[in-house]
């Protein structure tokens, strides 16, 4: 697997709502990230004023 493929895979998993185990280790269970999916959803809501699914199951636009 090349680095480019790994990055693509990481993004794909992120949009599927799956976090890498290494991210969990990095953050620790007691310290959830300030910039999790909820943060980006709230930013989106702030900009567009629309409700977004917070569990990462957002509709993925892909051509």
């Amino acid at each position: 697997m090349t680095f480019e493929e790994a990055v693509k895979q990481s993004i794909k998993k992120y949009y599927e709502g799956i976090d890498p185990a290494a991210t969990m280790e990095l953050l620790g269970e007691e310290n959830p990230s300030e910039y999790g999916r909820d943060y980006f959803d709230s930013v989106e809501e702030e900009i567009f004023g629309e409700e977004v699914a917070s569990d990462g199951e957002e509709e993925v636009k892909d051509a």
């Binding site: 993004i11 992120y14 990095l26 980006f40 709230s42 567009f48 051509a63």
Partner: protein, 197 residues
Amino acid sequence: MRNMLDGPIPGENYTSDTKNYPWHRPPELTKYDDAIKYSIEKLTDPKAAEGLLTFIEAGMPIATAADIFVTNGIGKGKWTPDFAILIAGPVARMMELMAKAAEIEYDLGIDDDVPVPTVEFFKAVAEGNIDKEQVEDASEAIEGSVDDFSEEPMGVATGGLMAPQNEATGLTEGVAPMDEQDAMLGYDPTDEEEVLV
């Protein structure tokens, strides 16, 4: 013609400074939140945002743009390659929000079939075919919700992509099977057979 005597002599690598390049030194950012904060600040910079959105509008997949961004961070010594992969998701999400805010049609590029850049793609990039007001609006809207960034002292990242997995991950510990190792090294058993024949 290349002079063969211009090459490094054996052991010359031991005489060079190992801290010549940023990626030779410990990464600047080792905390997940700090790296995301840094990425948001960089991406929402009006000049950077304009360039990014131009590429996205021209048809560059967001996954490719995120790849370029995190790779650039490695080159600047901001984070390690392992760390770059971990933050690629949030970076791509950020880019998606910017494209949405600028009302630009985008392609996430996470499907297996990645489109090859076309002549139209390069023409649009060359012409800078994008509305600057859209870029500024998108940049300001997102930047407003980000706190000030303060850099943390340098440290060494722990864990990572190459670290052994534990039971919590559901993956087995230890050495990968031989066929998997061969594949990782780019070894194809058919090559050897061909040579033998």
